[in-house]
Assembly symmetry: C2
Homo-oligomer: 477 residues x 2
């Protein structure tokens, strides 16, 4: 056996230091490498392949609702960014400015897009004239730049990959319907493909998107009890349309403003996959998003016939994303690497297995070992992957539910935050002062006012005045 | 019939003004919209869908050779760009500089990537240690920015989409092999999918990539007789490795420099599709790249049963990319739109056809009308698409061959350029002075020294001294 060139070093345990565990996994599973550019990450093949799978499946979901892809410029002239007052206030402080090009100073500086509402609005003002031009349902996959002070892989980086959908509609009702529709697309995708259950709801005025009439969000709970905003969908009403002059003539030949939405999901969601499903051996990828679903690891591979059988098995399993690890490392190292990289199942096959016409399937999540006849292995592998996908969702939901609490006053609220972090359901008067006080006292923010409301109490958890909504609260990434 | 909201206006004829024809097609087929940002284009749904199809098929071709995708930052700090002398000289004059971020002036300015050799080199210097880490075969799909003075849709814009592959190898031989391999991937893709035949060859020293040891190119001939460089593949030798210190320990434990390649194809190739296949009615898309392959156009669609039959036909043809144009426009307008957008075939179906259990297939390229029984329409549509794909390649090749000339002296050369533009095959001494003189006198540049050499004469077409190569020459986009 050749000397293994790289040890699978132990990673910090989750319970000991969750933040360090996260960084270790991201680095040792080779999802990301830090670049020489402050706050910018390199997506390595495994990290990018996960994003490619997200893209592929989400893009199909978008297109099924009539969305078309386009590509807009990455630069926004300062004057264009400034057209919508709230929007520029929200984004101007965190953009990167291009001031020189082609060896000369620019007459007007341009920022690298932090988001593209202003570009889409400018575009829509040119191509929308009549009600026949509506709706416009456009999306783009691209990278955006936001000048973050502190950065963390996937969760917060200066440049990140995302998609941003931008739609224009004839009526306010249609825009609201599309906003909710896309939120549902995100939530369904996360549940079905990523095995992550989501709380769907509306953001508070304080937490909504700069320039939006209403922002809706999906919120997930990480293993450490912190929340992660995983996707947002905004209804802009006709605010941007008025600022940019996007008008159409309706059937009565009257000029009307369009109503717009935008919605986005980014590589941040990969952080959620890591922090919802991972364990002390590394990444655990849901089978439906895993770039490699099955790793075949030959035992005693130098014995005659073992490697041949392993490759034969690979060909038999070609309906799945399957590989053979035929490198010169020991099986133990290969197991560790497969576990670190979160590959859903491994199949061990050695001389004795071959003699018995069998192989051993090992689940990444439970480590359950299943001895299977080679005659039934295709069927069985499919079953195990499907079961694992469902089990992962069930476990994530159980974890979230067991870490979701109710509070009716600030003492209860504070105690929960200190002792057993998770989601806190609490009534709220919707006054921003209470939201601020809760944040100052506990570090928790309002995550959303969920569509599924519950009546926890009559009064606001903070001020005691009559409550108008139930909200989810929590510390968040 | 409702008033058609938008006329399919006549476009300039190709023979009258090819440049204007091109601009008209790009705009009226709705491939591109000009943006408010100087030199930046918006890729509209049809333009982007063509790029998506290119991406999908080319990406699969890359992966079949072992390439993996990654994503690198879009910014390059000035000090990093400067590490390789020739490279920085080639690119520094045409980059966009970010000088401010997050409200503050940067300590070191960063350019928006014009290409990412320097970033990949920096990355490789961190992750390559041993011969076991080689080869690295990475690619990324992204946009790049080059500060162009004059821009044209697809052909030359400030920001454009592309892929850039960057590989690192243990030996010079392996790097050269990969350089040629990827050039062949491009040429095969263009021929098989885009129906565009390519001349493969090596660029002159003057025309090679900044920092490369050798640049290979694929060159196509447009309808107007001008050449278009359609993809390039560079062998860097160990030049970048020495500048960036990318070393590995070989099997004898000796430190060695890696040998590198890079290769790219961009949205520019969409310009080639337009200019090779288009005609005076607009775009003509090869079936294998067309986002919509078949448009079903109902005739007399308000007659009972016609629309039902059209949608039934669509479902029957679901193995293809098929749509029904059920809008309230007249069939004539629908034909014009289908032609303008280059949809390979349309199927006309009206009450009389339904009575006769037939439909009419019309080819976009030849306008041939084929009456087909509805019982055989799936098979026949597939045949017509396949035939059209082959015919388009044959026509493009015949056009190129009939516009490829030989010259043995400058009188002949000049006469050809003036009278019948196309490729000129001519012998060359490889002296840059002759290359320059030819350009000054005729406007033609050396396109490549083709792999398939022919002996046209003994002496250089320009200086009359002994020739060392045959080269293709021509005016180029």
């Amino acid at each position: 056996m050749a000397q293994d060139k790289k040890l699978v070093e132990a990673i910090t345990s989750m319970e000991e230091d969750f933040a360090q565990w996260y960084t270790d996994v991201v680095k040792k599973a080779e999802l990301i490498e830090y670049s020489s550019i402050r706050g910018c990450m390199i997506l390595r093949p495994l990290g990018y392949a996960i994003w490619e799978n997200i893209q592929k499946q989400l893009d199909a979901d978008f297109k099924a609702t009539g969305v078309e892809n386009v590509y807009m410029p990455m630069f926004i002239p300062e004057s264009l960014l400034q057209k919508e007052k709230d929007h520029v206030e929200g984004f101007a402080p965190e953009v990167a400015w291009v001031t020189h090009g082609g060896g000369e100073a620019l007459q007007e500086r341009m920022c690298v897009r932090p988001t593209s509402e202003t570009l889409f609005c400018d575009f829509y003002s040119k191509i929308i004239q009549s009600h026949r031009d509506l709706p416009k349902l456009y999306n783009q996959w691209c990278s955006v730049v936001r000048w973050e002070k502190t950065t963390r892989p996937f969760l917060r980086s200066m440049e990140f990959l995302w998609q941003e959908g931008h739609t224009a509609h004839a009526t306010a009702e249609e825009a609201e319907e599309r906003t909710i529709q896309m939120l549902n697309v995100y939530a369904d995708f996360c549940e079905r493909v990523l095995a992550i259950p989501m709380i769907k709801g509306r953001k508070s005025e304080k937490e909504k998107f700069a320039g939006a009439h209403a922002t809706y969000t999906i919120e997930a709970l990480m293993h450490d009890g912190k929340a992660l905003q995983s996707g947002t969908s905004h209804n802009f009403g006709d605010g941007f349309a008025r600022a940019f002059g996007i008008q159409y003539t309706d059937k009565n030949n009257t000029l009307q403003y369009v109503h717009q939405t935008s919605w986005g999901m980014s590589t941040r969601i990969i952080g959620a996959i890591i922090m919802v499903h991972g364990d002390d051996s590394g990444l655990v990828l849901p089978p439906r998003i895993a770039p490699t679903q099955i790793m075949i690891i030959p035992i005693n591979q130098n014995k005659e016939g073992v490697l041949d059988k392993a490759f034969e098995l690979r060909d038999k399993l070609s309906a799945f994303k399957v590989k053979v690890d035929a490198s010169e490392k020991s099986p133990g190292w290969k197991f560790s690497e497969q576990e670190m990289r979160g590959i859903p199942i491994r199949i061990e096959i050695g001389p004795k297995d071959i003699e018995a016409n069998q192989a051993v399937i090992v689940r990444r999540d439970t480590r359950e070992k299943i001895v299977v006849s080679l005659d039934q292995i295709v069927e069985k592998a499919g079953e195990v992957l499907e079961t694992m996908q469902q089990d992962m969702l069930n476990r994530a939901r159980a974890h979230r539910d067991s870490h979701t609490y109710s509070a009716t006053n600030m003492d209860e609220f504070t105690k929960i935050i200190e002792e057993k972090p998770g989601f806190i359901k609490a009534m709220w008067c919707q006054d921003e002062a209470c939201e601020k006080e809760i944040k100052d006292r506990t570090g928790a923010t309002s995550r959303c006012m969920p569509f599924e409301q519950e009546h926890i109490a009559d009064t606001c958890v903070c001020c005691g005045k009559p409550a108008t909504t139930m909200a989810y609260w929590g510390k968040a990434y």
